[in-house]
């Protein structure tokens, strides 16, 4: 019996090396590239008709665009327009990564803490730089909650600073943990079904129960895949808003 976390193993498909670092093209890399290609092909193909009254495909592509467009404008406002392509890319990349990962025998690169953490750290450094660039030293007032009693200010500054630096951790761990837990659970139930079938005889029909649970969980995981892509993106918008408008 395989471990339910074995599915997360990185397997090199093509050995490559750069400056002494192993940069082999792995199953994780394959699905990152696939997510990029599938999303780009889907979004381009869906818009090929440029119809005034969109069909199903075009409507879904437009829906994605408008969903993120509304998210940026409602969370960041007009100042967020220049960052829209980035936020859209982030959402599409994560959504297609999560969704492709649900296909049996595929790989979910968002279940890798290093991937989610590098994304989150990039966003964290990016929004911090935007804030410093926009507000200079004034940015430091972000850590002083307005209207707080003077006595509490030192404590609040500590809390605010800690909470600020926890952001990339919470952002990356949230996505990673959801993917890890979901896929592990799917594997556990699938393994259970296989084990019961393997027991044979009168026990074999009982395998239907974990199998039904697996079907239900797969549906739930589709929801989680979309939801976590959304959560990651909307939190990015909120951090961007903090950077641009401070309080």
């Amino acid at each position: 019996m395989h471990s339910p976390v074995e599915q997360f193993t990185i397997k090199a498909l093509l050995h490559l090396e750069l400056f002494g670092y192993d940069i082999s093209f792995s199953n994780s890399a394959l699905f990152m590239i696939l997510a990029v290609l599938v999303s780009t092909i889907f979004l381009t193909f869906a818009m090929r008709g440029r119809q005034m009254v969109p069909g199903r495909m075009q409507a879904s592509a437009e829906m994605m665009y408008e969903f993120i467009s509304d998210m940026v404008s409602s969370n960041v406002g007009n100042a967020g327009r220049p960052y829209f392509p980035f936020v859209f890319t982030l959402f599409v990349f994560l959504l297609f990564g999560n969704m492709l990962g649900l296909i049996p025998y595929s790989y979910t690169f968002t279940s890798q803490i290093v991937v989610t953490f590098v994304l989150a750290a990039f966003i964290f450094v990016g929004v911090t730089l935007i804030a410093i660039f926009k507000h200079g030293f004034h940015f430091l007032t972000f850590f002083v909650p307005p209207g707080a009693p003077k006595v509490l200010i030192p404590f609040l500054i500590v809390i605010e600073v800690v909470s600020y630096f926890v952001r990339p951790v919470s952002l990356s761990v949230r996505l990673f943990a959801n993917m890890l837990a979901g896929h592990t659970m799917l594997k556990v139930f699938a393994g259970l079904a296989v084990m019961i079938t393997g027991a044979g005889g009168v026990y074999a029909p009982g395998a239907i129960l974990p199998f039904l649970a697996l079907v239900g969980l797969t549906g739930l995981e589709v929801l989680v895949a979309a939801l976590q892509a959304y959560v990651f993106t909307i939190l990015t918008c909120m951090y961007l808003n903090d950077a641009i408008h401070l309080h």
Binding site: E6, F8, Y21, A61, P85, I113, V118, A177
Partner: protein, 207 residues
């Protein structure tokens, strides 16, 4: 958003994420421990195998940069332009519909004005016709009256003449009968002219 509410929500969020993180670290440790207890050769979560990190970071940077380029240069402008085109089209249609509605309103006003004018003209024409008929009638009545008056005056003149003639004959008859009466009574002959003069005197005296 009010600053206090904002701070509260932010602190709540921080609290939440800390709990998630703490829970996760526990889960991770547990699975690592479970895996090592089972004596798996992988020795824990594959995610924590740091030797795989450089390749994943490298390919993440490559694929995300590629995704950003493709979205920024191709996908976003494509979808954006279609949406803008549709937006403009709808705006244009709405503007045209408003224009058409305004035109219809104007046409209705013009029609109503025309109708009112026609009604006024009709009334005016009726009034004029009535007036001209009245004046014609009055003229006819006047001419008829005039003709009647003329006929009446002619008749009156004839009557007067006939009366005068009759009266003249009466005085003639009176003078001859007076001559006859005088001749019968006195046997005197009275001249015709004298008789006439006397009758005239008598007429004057009686009238």
């Amino acid at each position: 958003m009010k600053p206090t509410a904002w701070t509260e929500s932010r602190q709540l969020k921080t609290c939440f994420s800390s709990i998630t993180a703490a829970g996760l670290v526990m889960t991770m440790t547990q699975s690592v421990m479970a895996a090592s207890e089972k004596g798996e050769e992988s020795g824990g979560l594959p995610q924590l195998d740091f030797s795989t990190w450089p390749t994943q970071i490298f390919w993440l940077v490559v694929s995300f940069a590629l995704a950003y380029l493709l979205m920024w240069r191709i996908v976003v402008p494509r979808i954006g332009s279609v949406l803008e085109e549709r937006h403009n089209r709808i705006e244009d249609d709405l503007r045209r519909a408003r224009q058409a509605s305004d035109d219809a309103e104007q046409a209705r006003e013009a029609f109503e004005k025309m109708l009112a004018d026609a009604r006024n003209d009709g009334n005016e024409m009726t009034r004029q016709a009535a007036e001209s008929i009245m004046s014609k009638m009055e003229r006819k009545v006047a001419t008829a009256n005039a003709a009647l008056a003329k006929k009446m005056s002619e008749a009156e003149a004839e009557i007067a003449k006939a009366r005068a003639d009759a009266l003249k004959e009466v005085s003639d008859i009176a003078s001859t009968s007076a001559m006859d009466v005088v001749a019968q009574l006195t046997g005197m002959k009275v001249g015709k002219t004298d008789a006439k003069r006397l009758v005239k005197q008598a007429e004057k005296a009686t009238s």
